[in-house]
């Protein structure tokens, strides 16, 4: 309770409030720009936070996460191009509604649904993260190792890319994490005599490369895309009839989004897809979906925003990122010398609750900004791509350099960008690479500690109930889908025979 109130009191600091307002505005701009999303934005702005106090730095990153996720709806509704992948399903009904002259209503629905989803998920975050941390407090290295393996196995189910390719990308990230001095034995690995590599490959330059620079190369092939723009006259709040129609959808999607967000590695994109599909499944008028149904917008937006709070639960309580953007925030925590995990709620509880309250504040703030500023923010889509991406490159490179003031980090960012581009071209998602890089060190450390603890008999991990539970979850994450499809395929003919 003390930490709860201390976290709230942190918002009385005018400089933190000012930072949050700026970060929220920046996040909305980033989310509204096609090609940039919350993950890229957080990765690009992470170097700007290095001189800040940890609370301010992480609050800024979470503010960008929340507001950019919301802002993807602006371009989804007005130009039929989702600002972020999490808003892809918002296009399906938002744009048709805008085309029939109801852009303001569509944006109003998106803003209100996002706010409710975001606020509800932060409440869950405040309640669930300390409980989860308490449960994990007594985890020994074998349990942590099994949990980290489970977190990595969830990469297989990330929406973008195929399962086997996602796992390869994740394993590649883990491999990158082995570069540098081995913490257990002080042996140098893959440093090739470069002293700068002794501390390993930095998270930040790799993230700037795979999320920012690779996107520049992707955008280079989309220069001829012409987007239709809808002019909005005014934003208005949804009517009483709209609320009566969508409130169940908002609550359902908020619950779905929060739950999906809590699952390691899953994020707002998966949440919005499930939220939209469930909204359609439960609707009494499913035929209206795709033609401008208010429930379609509410289902997608409530789910994607509630996933932000959900994703922070495993990130802070276990040190396992709940989404790609949470992985960047996790990197930010590490850069600032903080150790996410169960001890955060015993040793740095005030810090954790300051972050929760900052997220709550930002979610409420973009209700105001979204309703009164969406028309203005929509204008950022007019920024020519020829201005935007050269500027993004400059920020990316300078940001990569700034953290350690090392040219090696610039080359790492550039190489990561090129590698990331070709990975995406060949169907590999870059998200697992980033998450693998972050979790790789922890994975090896926990494995080493487990081997010491279990007298080098690794199979004893399977005799520990909690470790076994996580390994079973891992097996389900890896093979459950195939088993389900096999089972489903076998059942289909039976079903048709029965009919």
């Amino acid at each position: 309770m003390e930490a709860f109130l201390a976290g709230l009191a942190a918002l009385a600091d005018p400089s933190l409030l000012g930072l949050l307002v700026l970060a929220m505005l920046g996040g909305v701009l980033i989310g509204a720009l096609p090609g940039l999303n919350a993950t890229t934005g957080a990765a690009l702005l992470l170097p700007f936070t290095i001189t800040m106090e940890p609370v301010g730095a992480i609050a800024v990153l979470t503010a960008i996460y929340c507001s950019a996720t919301f802002a993807g709806a602006i371009t989804a509704i007005l130009i039929n191009t989702p600002g972020t992948s999490a808003s892809a399903t918002t296009c399906l009904d938002g744009f048709p509604m805008a085309q029939r002259g109801e852009a303001g209503r569509a944006l109003g629905l998106a803003v209100v649904s996002s706010t409710i989803g975001g606020v509800l998920s932060v409440i869950v975050l405040m309640a669930a993260a300390p409980l989860l941390a308490r449960a994990a407090y007594n985890f020994a290295p074998p349990e942590y190792f099994a949990l980290t393996v489970f977190g990595l196995s969830m990469l297989a189910t990330i929406g973008e890319g195929s399962p086997v390719k996602n796992l390869i990308a994740g394993a590649f990230g883990v491999m990158l994490a082995t570069v540098g001095t081995d913490l257990m034995t002080s042996v140098e690995r893959f440093t090739f005599g470069l002293s700068e590599l002794r501390d390993g490959v930095g998270f930040v330059p790799v993230m700037i490369g795979v999320f920012g620079i690779s996107e520049l190369l992707v955008q280079a092939s989309k220069l001829d895309v012409v987007r239709e723009r809808i002019i909005i006259k005014a934003i208005r709040l949804p009517s009483r009839e709209d609320y009566a129609r969508v409130w169940r959808t908002i609550l359902r999607s908020s619950a779905i989004g929060t739950f999906v967000g809590i699952l390691p590695a899953e994020g707002a994109t998966v949440a919005s897809m499930i939220g939209y599909n469930e909204a359609k499944r439960w609707s009494t008028t499913p035929e209206e979906f795709g033609k401008g149904a208010p429930e379609g917008i509410a289902g997608s937006e409530a789910a994607n925003n509630s996933a932000t709070g959900g994703a922070m639960v495993p990130t802070l309580a276990l040190g396992i990122p709940g989404s790609p953007t949470a992985a960047v925030i996790l990197a930010g925590l590490m850069v600032h010398g903080l150790r996410p995990g169960p001890t955060m709620f015993t040793e740095q509880a005030n810090f954790a609750f300051s972050i929760f309250w900052s997220m709550m504040f930002v979610n409420l703030l973009f209700l105001v900004v979204g309703l009164y500023g969406a028309k203005l923010f929509a204008r950022v889509t007019l920024i020519p791509i020829q201005v935007l991406w050269p500027s993004v490159f400059i920020f990316s490179i300078v940001g990569a350099y700034a953290l350690e003031q090392s040219m090696l980090d610039v080359w790492i960012a550039l190489i990561s960008g090129v590698v990331g581009f070709f990975m995406r071209r060949y169907g590999f998602s870059v998200v697992p690479l980033a998450i693998g890089l972050i979790l790789g060190g922890m994975l090896e450390q926990r494995l080493g500690q487990s081997m010491v603890m279990l007298d080098e008999k690794w199979w004893l991990m399977l005799t520990r109930p909690l470790s076994l539970f996580f390994f079973v979850l891992t097996a389900l994450a890896l093979f459950g889908g195939s088993l389900w499809r096999t089972f489903f395929r076998q059942r289909q003919p039976l079903k048709s025979m029965g009919e």
Binding site: F48, P384, V387, V398, V410, G417
Partner: protein, 154 residues
């Protein structure tokens, strides 16, 4: 569109490159120092990288069979040019870091079809200079000395 031979090539080239890289990494790990049993902390320094490299090779072979790499289109010409410009950027950093950024930004904008002088001035001078002063004065970051930065640093 790419022709079938090129698609076929990438289907096998990508797994081959991954396997060769991992085999190379494995080979490098054989040169890592080994700890005597008394100093060993559960696993040898080479064990974990070897485990991961082996796993990647296995997954790649699986991928080549069940989910091969498929690409529909060639890499766009402007993407190749953008890649070359990144190489040019790397070379120009030898003269000056911010000169390299400015040259890259202007050339990229030109290649991507921008012809308006105010816009080119914006991306080639205003943005790099703004970012330089933001980081130099705001965050006290020292950039590598070069032809332009030395004018400021003296």
């Amino acid at each position: 569109m790419q022709n079938k031979n090129e698609i076929h090539l990438e289907r096998w080239l990508v797994p081959a490159v991954i396997v060769v890289l991992c085999a190379g990494a494995w080979w490098i790990t054989t040169g890592f120092d080994r700890m005597p049993p008394i100093l060993k902390r559960g696993i040898q320094p080479s064990d974990f990288p070897q485990l991961v490299a082996g796993l990647i090779i296995l997954l790649t072979l699986l991928m080549a069979v069940i989910d091969p790499v498929q690409v529909a289109d060639r890499v766009a010409r402007k993407t190749w040019i953008s890649l070359v410009l990144m190489g040019v950027f790397a070379l120009v950093t030898l003269i000056d870091f911010f000169l390299a950024l400015a040259v890259f930004a202007v050339t990229l904008a030109l290649v991507w079809g921008e012809r308006r002088k105010p816009i080119l001035v914006l991306v080639g001078i205003v943005v790099p200079a703004g970012v330089f002063f933001l980081f130099d004065l705001g965050f006290r970051i020292r950039f590598p000395r070069g032809v332009l930065t030395s004018l400021w640093y003296g």
